[in-house]
């Protein structure tokens, strides 16, 4: 099941209405680093084509949750499913067997991640960064990958910057290259880990605008962010996390304007 070919993943489901088919399902996920319990039983579900924003104070486990979804961390307990596939394990003879590194790598192809610190490959140009995964993970021919990469860079407004190295780009431009790179593998789920937190204030908007465009095109997105306005305008669902649990969730109109939980209220008062 982890071997589902990439082409089967519809790149962009039509924006017309989201289905109820859950794309990401998380149940009872726990994770500790040493003595510190970072996730204490997370349950959440994101339907295909929906945008979910995860809000919450620093240290509430938002990033760790995201990193468990693409197996940069292994959850200690609980189950994560992407489009029905159990993440990180193979079930055989009534037991779960952890995937080996090769199988895990294969499974990671269904997701793509945009990092807080961009994490572009510094020894490759913008277009080479975007081509890297299609060519070296998915075996797309170089010429085709280049053409597609140039289209993607055009789409994030960087058509004229394709031969620049990351060090020659501003933070906002680097992050847009990183988004193009994430799109290049046509992921079923796009994960954003605080994509604007490392940016100068005036560069934040260009990145958020690109993300809002993607949301309109019907990509399933999980966005860890501190941008409340973005969550309000773009998200279908907002999850508020604190102390390793989801404290409150629902449509942004309700969670952000009439929060029920005192913790949510206190947080929103501070950031708004």
């Amino acid at each position: 099941m982890a071997d589902t070919p990439l082409t089967a993943a519809a790149p962009a489901a039509p924006a017309a209405g989201t289905t109820d088919r859950p794309m990401v399902e998380i149940s009872g996920v726990c994770k500790s680093f040493g003595d510190q319990q970072v996730l204490r039983g997370i349950d959440l579900s994101v339907a295909a084509g929906q945008v979910a924003c995860i809000l919450g104070p620093s240290g509430s486990g938002k990033s760790t949750l995201l990193r468990c979804i693409n197996q940069l961390e292994r959850a200690d307990d609980g189950a994560i499913r992407i489009d029905g596939d159990l993440v990180g394990y193979r079930v055989h003879g009534g037991r779960r067997h952890p995937l080996n590194s090769r199988q895990a790598a294969r499974q990671r192809r269904s997701t793509a991640m945009v990092f807080q610190r961009f994490n572009l490959l510094t020894h490759r140009t913008a277009v080479e960064n975007v081509m890297e995964a299609p060519v070296h993970v998915h075996g797309v021919p170089r010429q085709q990958a280049r053409t597609e990469a140039l289209e993607l860079l055009e789409r994030v407004g960087l058509g004229d910057r394709c031969d620049h190295y990351p060090a020659q780009l501003s933070g906002g431009q680097q992050q847009r290259v990183a988004i193009a790179r994430a799109l290049a593998v046509r992921p079923r789920v796009l994960l954003f880990d605080e994509p604007t937190s490392a940016l100068d204030p005036e560069l934040v908007d260009e990145v958020l605008a690109v993300m809002a465009d993607l949301a309109r095109e019907g990509l399933t997105m999980l966005v860890v962010t501190h941008e409340i306005a973005f969550a309000r305008d773009v998200a279908d669902t907002v999850f508020f996390m604190d102390g390793g649990v989801v404290v409150e969730s629902g449509p942004p109109a309700r969670v952000l304007t009439q929060p029920e939980h005192p913790r949510t209220r206190a947080f929103l008062r501070r950031v708004l």
Partner: protein, 307 residues
């Protein structure tokens, strides 16, 4: 005021406001002093070389291209290349083990690196050379089981073999640590990004870590090459005819020690210059993606004389 203005001469119209008087020319008195002192020493050296008959410079010229010397130089170069290649390959294996997730492999690598860096080169050299005294025969087969091939140790490990083994093992520990530092210096975020793309660990290593670690490892690696070029002269103790051996053999006959040591110095120096050029070419080639400022800075550093 008037004197200031006249000194400024035909330069731009002088400003009368205090604090904006024209700049007085700067005389580098200190530089003159340094030059003077250095000049005296250089003059003394030249005087010593030119007027000293005992230095016997014609002997230097006579033996510079002596076949014995050239053969020795060849042996030195072979030892350097073989020792570095062996050391680098072994070091690469040790680095991979040292960074692996297996505690067993990590401890083995840690111990091997410790041993490699602990035993002096000279001791290793003699150890391998005299190995036959404790292990007369080397056999290949199943441990504690049948043996397929049995060879005499002295046939397998001759002088050159002992020297190459010793240099490789001596170098392996240093190279392992150099490459480990290179790997660790690669940004974790890039490794995570490549992993998140769905690359297998091996591909992450080849596509992301190795190109960047190689760039970082070049200067210390070239340091090792240059030092092994010279350290290899310990092989004269097991009678291997390298450059130093040739030079010593000649001056033990004609007693012209200094001219012949200058011959050795000349060849070691030439090899080092060539290696330095190779290093800067390698660094230039691998500097892709470095910020332009950093590249310009590096070029400036190369162009400006130290001082």
């Amino acid at each position: 005021m008037t004197s200031t203005r006249s000194r400024a001469g035909s330069a731009a119209p002088a400003d009368d406001r205090p604090g904006l008087e024209p700049l007085a020319p700067r005389v580098p008195w200190r530089e003159f002093l340094y030059l003077g002192v250095v000049g005296v020493f250089v003059a003394m050296l030249v005087n010593f070389v030119v007027t000293n008959d005992r230095l016997n410079l014609p002997v230097f010229a006579e033996y510079l291209f002596d076949p014995l010397v050239l053969d020795g130089l060849q042996t030195t170069l072979v030892l350097t290349v073989a020792g570095m290649t062996g050391g680098t390959l072994l070091g690469l294996v040790l680095t991979a083990m040292r960074l692996s997730s297996s505690p067993t492999l990590r401890s083995v690598a840690f111990t091997a690196i410790y041993v490699s860096r602990t035993i002096p080169l000279l001791v290793q050299l003699l150890f391998w050379f005299f190995l036959a005294s404790v292990l007369p025969e080397i056999s290949f087969g199943i441990p504690f089981g049948p043996e397929f091939v049995t060879l005499e140790t002295n046939q397998v490990i001759n002088q050159l073999g002992a020297a190459i083994i010793a240099l490789s093992l001596f170098e392996a520990g240093y190279m392992a640590e150099i490459m480990r530092s290179g790997v660790l210096a690669v940004d974790r975020g890039q490794v995570e990004a490549a992993t998140a793309m769905g690359m297998t660990p091996w591909k992450v290593f080849r596509r992301v870590v190795l190109p960047q670690a190689a760039r970082i490892s070049i200067p210390p690696t070239m340091n090792q090459v240059i030092s092994i070029l010279k350290y290899s002269s310990v092989v004269i103790l097991i009678g291997l005819a390298d450059l130093m051996f040739a030079v010593q053999a000649i001056y033990s006959r004609n007693f012209q020690q200094i001219p012949l040591l200058l011959v050795a110095t000349f060849w070691y120096g030439l090899a080092t210059i060539v290696l330095t050029l190779v290093q800067s070419q390698l660094e230039k080639r691998l500097s892709t993606g470095l910020p332009k400022a950093a590249r310009v800075r590096m070029q400036k550093l190369e162009e400006t004389p130290v001082g």
